[in-house]
């Protein structure tokens, strides 16, 4: 039972990271209808910027993170304005490939500026608490906490702020939103900025979880896709639930399936989320919480 509970905690923490990454994908998809592959790069840059501000510049960690968020928000807006704005109305294919191009550029910029492997000087360390046989590390605690805060922020923003309302309107019908005097262009910019900010949190948590910040983070970020698909691409709540479900599935696969099914191969847990994702897409293409009519035949 301890094993199960410990795995559940580990899976939830992993899932929270997936959820944070997936949220960044979702917020852009929700308003622009685009899967932004460059978000993997945002996660990577977010972690490295935080490293840069906190370790290289020796600023307090929280200040460093806030500065990284500001930097990423500005960068995301600039990219949206310079590149993505020009692609409004183009087929999904075109936009996806452009974001993949951006991802490649961002990765190389990162590698040209920073080392491929750095340690984040994070404040939570490796301290841990034990609750009746279940160990909870501070990193995991904060990961879940941050995910919760970010999601709460999302809901408050969407529900109560003028821009949140505008974004919801734009997501439902861009033309109608335009007719009501909502600047769709600004909605796009804001959604990108939000993605940039969330990416910093995701990047830091991903780096803290995997022992170091390294240049494979952008790749790890792509592992959040199954979470996003499971949750239904345009639902922040779905991203959270999807993230946790996928995280727990992955960890439970390692704990219970892999030892009993060696034929599935070493490290099957890392592809399990994709197997689940494909099954979901085939069986219920809108995901668990998705509302947008999925492009199906």
């Amino acid at each position: 039972m301890d094993k199960f509970l410990n795995l559940l905690v580990a899976g939830t923490a992993l899932g929270s990271i997936y959820a944070l990454v997936a949220l960044g994908f979702v917020v852009v998809f929700k308003s622009t209808g685009t899967i932004n592959f460059a978000h993997g790069g945002f996660v990577l840059l977010g972690a490295y910027l935080t490293y840069n501000y906190s370790v290289t510049w020796d600023l307090p960690f929280i200040v460093a993170m806030l500065m990284a968020m500001a930097t990423m928000a500005i960068l995301a807006v600039i990219l949206e304005r310079l590149v993505l704005r020009k692609l409004v109305g183009q087929p999904a294919f075109t936009v996806i490939m452009v974001t993949l191009g951006l991802l490649i550029l961002i990765q190389q910029v990162q590698q040209s500026i920073w080392s491929t492997e750095v340690l984040l000087d994070d404040p939570w360390g490796t301290d841990q608490w034990e609750l009746g046989g279940v160990v909870i590390t501070q990193v995991r605690f904060f990961t879940v906490l941050f995910a919760a805060i970010v999601v709460l922020g999302f809901f408050l923003f969407f529900r109560f702020s003028a821009w949140g309302v505008a974004m919801r309107a734009a997501a439902i019908d861009q033309e109608a939103a335009l007719a009501q005097g909502i600047s769709v262009a600004r909605v796009f910019a804001i959604s990108w900025a939000i993605a940039g900010v969330v990416a910093v949190v995701a990047g830091v948590m991903l780096g803290a979880d995997s022992a170091s910040v390294n240049s494979t983070l952008s790749f790890s970020a792509l592992r959040a896709f199954p979470a996003m698909i499971l949750g239904g691409l345009d639902s922040p709540l779905g991203a959270i639930v999807g993230g946790v479900v996928i995280g727990v599935t992955e960890v439970m696969t390692t704990g219970y399936i892999e030892p009993n099914a060696e034929w599935l191969g070493q490290g099957f847990h890392s592809v399990m989320p994709f197997v689940v994702m494909i099954a979901i897409l085939v069986l219920k293409p809108t995901g668990l919480f998705g509302s947008r009519a999925v492009e199906r035949v």
Binding site: K3, T126, V135, T254
Partner: protein, 475 residues
């Protein structure tokens, strides 16, 4: 092995590359080992490639530069190690040698996740050649050495293509990064009969005539690791387990572990593996914890080892970990991760990184300062540097034999006796592949957060398992 010459006991040169090599850890790279054991068998003579300047400048091919103590050959070396030929004229111009400059090849990660390792290895190698070129006048005092670099991008197929592209421009390959890359290149090196220093300490290179390995192989490291656990940690009767990378590197360590288990009479309660690049080790931790493991022998690389141990700690599982040289990287054990390393031991080679008592280490630090273009001496740099010592010995021998061709170098190694790594790695006795004697002593280091950033390991013990020399490397 024809005859064993017993050295007088030497002072321990624990100059283990430790830290450096661990760096390689990332890549399961190769590294040096020690040689201090008092019983290093030697077939031939000891060549000190980098030795002191004077010795090197006069170094003829086979001449015996004893390092420190007396390494004498009681008899002429057997068959292959024919008598030292009379110095011949200048070597002919061949691939990689234009009459003035000798070009050696490096196939390393210049980009990708391990670029920082590849870069440092290269700077280490370059530092050593700069020293040879500037202070010794080059190989045999006259031939400058240049490195030709190809990017392996962390992909074995890319490395093979890189190899194909530059093999005609180099006399040998001196710097390779990683067991998988080395393994992929092996077939082609053999086919082309080109010599290379393996980017891996796997025992399978020991008997391969196209390789010039150095340091104690992973198999030996793990046998000595078991010895340390049984003797120094009083591990008899405890539950032992393994954690190994799912490739040829992991296999070589496991081979040593299985050998040791049989000799010491125990069985592993759980064997776990992982794929390079994995980030979540919950499964392995759970399996190890469920099996009640008290000691885990790791044949791993630093990122994954760190992930395993932080993951284990977060599940309240904190056994003793004993890792191979590549399993540790100071960088990753720094800061907050350190807590997870409390019970970590590394089986390595040489002495503590940066210890100026070790002659090779002092030379290394001085030379990095002089030729390193501002590079900070790192463990990776040291690894690249140490490997180059072996290359230097081989090139000197080949020039002395008057043949820098690919075959000439392979042949030169067959006639190379014991090579002294100045304490950066154990002395290695080359000669015909069947007769090679790798170092069989290991240094055990313990994680020590009080150490500096570049070296978080403190020397704990030097061990040599009584079974280490019984281990037979496959031919």
């Amino acid at each position: 092995m024809n005859q064993h010459v017993h050295h007088p006991a030497r002072t321990r040169r624990l100059v283990r590359l430790v830290a450096g090599l661990l760096a390689l850890g990332l890549v399961a790279a190769a590294c040096g080992d020690d040689d201090d054991d008092a019983t290093t068998p030697a077939t031939g003579e000891t060549t000190a490639p980098s030795g002191d300047t004077t010795a090197a400048t006069t170094a003829g091919p086979g001449d015996t530069t004893t390092s420190g103590d007396s390494t004498e050959s009681t008899e002429p070396p057997p068959d292959a190690t024919t008598t030292v030929p009379a110095p011949v004229g200048d070597p002919e111009e061949v691939d990689g040698f234009d009459g003035e400059t000798i070009t050696v090849g490096a196939v390393l990660d210049q980009t990708g996740p391990l670029a920082f390792v590849g870069t440092d290895l290269l700077v280490g190698a370059q530092t050593y050649w700069d020293f040879v070129n500037e202070e010794l006048g080059g190989i045999a005092g006259k031939y400058k050495v240049e490195i030709k670099v190809a990017d392996s991008k962390n992909e074995a197929p890319v490395a093979v293509q890189a190899y194909q592209q530059i093999k005609g421009d180099v006399v040998m390959f001196t710097n390779i990064l990683g067991t998988p890359v080395t393994k992929a290149m092996a077939e082609f090196l053999v086919e082309d009969n080109i010599l290379a220093i393996p980017g891996s300490l796997a025992g399978e290179w020991v008997r391969n005539p196209n390789f010039l390995p150095y340091s104690a192989p992973y198999e030996i490291e793990m046998i000595n690791g078991v010895e340390f656990w049984q003797t120094n940690l009083e591990g008899a009767g405890q539950t032992a387990c393994t954690f190994a990378q799912n490739d040829s590197y992991g296999e070589s360590g496991l081979t040593g572990l299985e050998f040791a288990a049989e000799k010491y009479g125990f069985e592993f309660a759980a064997d776990t593996t992982y794929n390079s690049g994995d980030t979540d080790f919950t499964a392995q931790v759970t399996e190890l914890a469920d099996a009640g493991c008290e000691v885990v022998f790791s044949v791993s690389t630093p990122r994954e080892q760190t992930g395993l141990m932080t993951g284990a700690r977060s599940l309240g599982f904190e056994p003793v970990f004993i890792g191979t040289l590549p399993s540790f990287l100071s960088l990753l054990a720094g800061g907050d991760n350190g807590a997870a390393f409390a019970n970590f031991y590394l089986v390595g080679d040489g002495g503590e990184f940066g210890d100026p008592e070790i002659p090779g280490m002092k030379n290394f630090l001085d030379r990095v300062e002089k030729y390193g273009d501002g590079a900070a001496p790192s463990t990776f740099l040291l690894t690249g540097y140490t490997a180059t010592l072996a290359a230097h010995a081989a090139l000197e021998k080949a020039v002395a034999l008057g043949d820098l061709s690919h075959e000439g170098l392979v042949n030169a190694v067959q006639q190379l006796g014991e090579v002294d790594f100045e304490g950066l790695a154990g002395n290695y006795t080359y000669g015909p592949p069947d007769e090679r004697v790798p170092p069989i002593e290991s240094a055990i280091f313990r994680f020590d957060p009080a150490k500096t950033d570049r070296n978080l390991l403190a020397l704990q013990e030097v061990v040599e398992s009584p079974f280490a020399k019984e281990y037979v490397f496959a031919g």
